[in-house]
Symmetry: C2
């Protein structure tokens, strides 16, 4: 089982590494970070670099594509090699997936045309302009396409995906291995219940990077 | 506010990147990955490398130390530069923290002598042999020392820490920015409620890396 996570400058680290950690823990799964060139790719904060160990040409046909989001998606929409790689890989994937604003890259590659999909709450409505149908839900599955809401939702998506790729017992064992029994100290993670002031403050943090 | 995350071969990626993403989103916070030498450091799966951008000597006095865990902690216990860096930095930190088995590195540096602390459920009792007092809780705060349970607990710890470093409103805004409103598809993340079979399977996944 070969899973490919494309990296581009300005990705959000947790978008990629949350699902990576869940999926890479499973036996028989290989996760590879890919990019236009091999080498380090810097994140949205300019303070974390993950090494891409294969080029798009070297991994054209992964079983699973998992596209992270981040402020860098705006620039990545113009990265023809990335978009064409997604488009071509999607023809033979078992699953094509995204986290956060990675959905816009899937959409730009034509993967989400007319499909229900989700993304970060701050940009959810904008999916419609890209041909997708903005759908409620932290993880939205439609055929072989799975999209997740913002950043940390990739963890929940990856467990869902792992149960589909392997089986539910494997997903449960990984969940216990990473002790994913979440207990955030605040209950401020949902835009549906956040005050307008908190929503604006969160969006300004995102715009600041 | 300068936060340092030391990397060593065999760290678990989410241990480092969960807290990194939470903390780096906050204004005025700089997070630096440090190691004995600058350059990429490979994780427990041999498939993800994060670049250390400073050596221990270049960042001897961070405001916050955050030590990730992973199977590599066993080898890292013998890394004198890492252990001495933790010991020396702790004298002047505002907060000294760990995720998962990173607690054993804090303990080996003398930081946890006689203190309540936590770590991954699979190794919790073993903290006593390192001079700490194994304590219940996903995040344990004792003076300026904060320890978190396994892997994903670093997210909850980082939000707690950010509220202490800055203020609760900032932590809430970051929680919303990363849409941390967790909804795992299974409720298998707690060892307290897991079957012996699931616990054994989870531990075998950890031993397998």
């Amino acid at each position: 089982m070969r899973i490919a996570i494309p990296l581009y400058p300005g990705f959000t680290a947790l978008d990629a590494v949350g699902p990576y950690t869940v999926l890479a823990f499973a036996p028989g799964v290989t996760v590879t970070f890919v990019a236009g060139e091999r080498g380090p790719v810097v994140d949205d904060q300019d303070s974390l670099s993950i090494t891409a160990t294969a080029t798009y040409d070297e991994l054209p046909d992964p079983d699973v594509v998992l596209v992270p989001g981040g402020p860098g998606t705006v620039g990545a929409l113009g990265d023809h090699r990335l978009i064409e790689w997604i488009r071509a890989a999607h023809r033979t994937t078992r699953w094509t997936t995204s986290v956060c604003s990675g959905a816009f890259l899937l959409a730009h590659a034509g993967v989400l045309d007319g499909l229900p999909a989700t993304t970060h709450w701050g940009f959810h409505d904008q999916l419609a302009a890209f041909g997708a149908v903005p759908a409620a839900g932290r993880v939205v599955t439609e055929g072989k396409v799975v999209t997740a809401a913002g950043v940390s939702a990739g963890l929940d998506m990856a467990l869902t995906l792992l149960a589909l790729l392997r089986d539910e017992d494997t997903a449960r064992a990984v969940q216990l291995a990473i002790e994913y029994d979440p207990a955030p100290p605040f209950s401020s993670g949902s835009a549906a219940t956040a005050s307008p002031e908190l929503r604006e403050r969160a969006l300004s943090l995102i715009r600041g990077v």
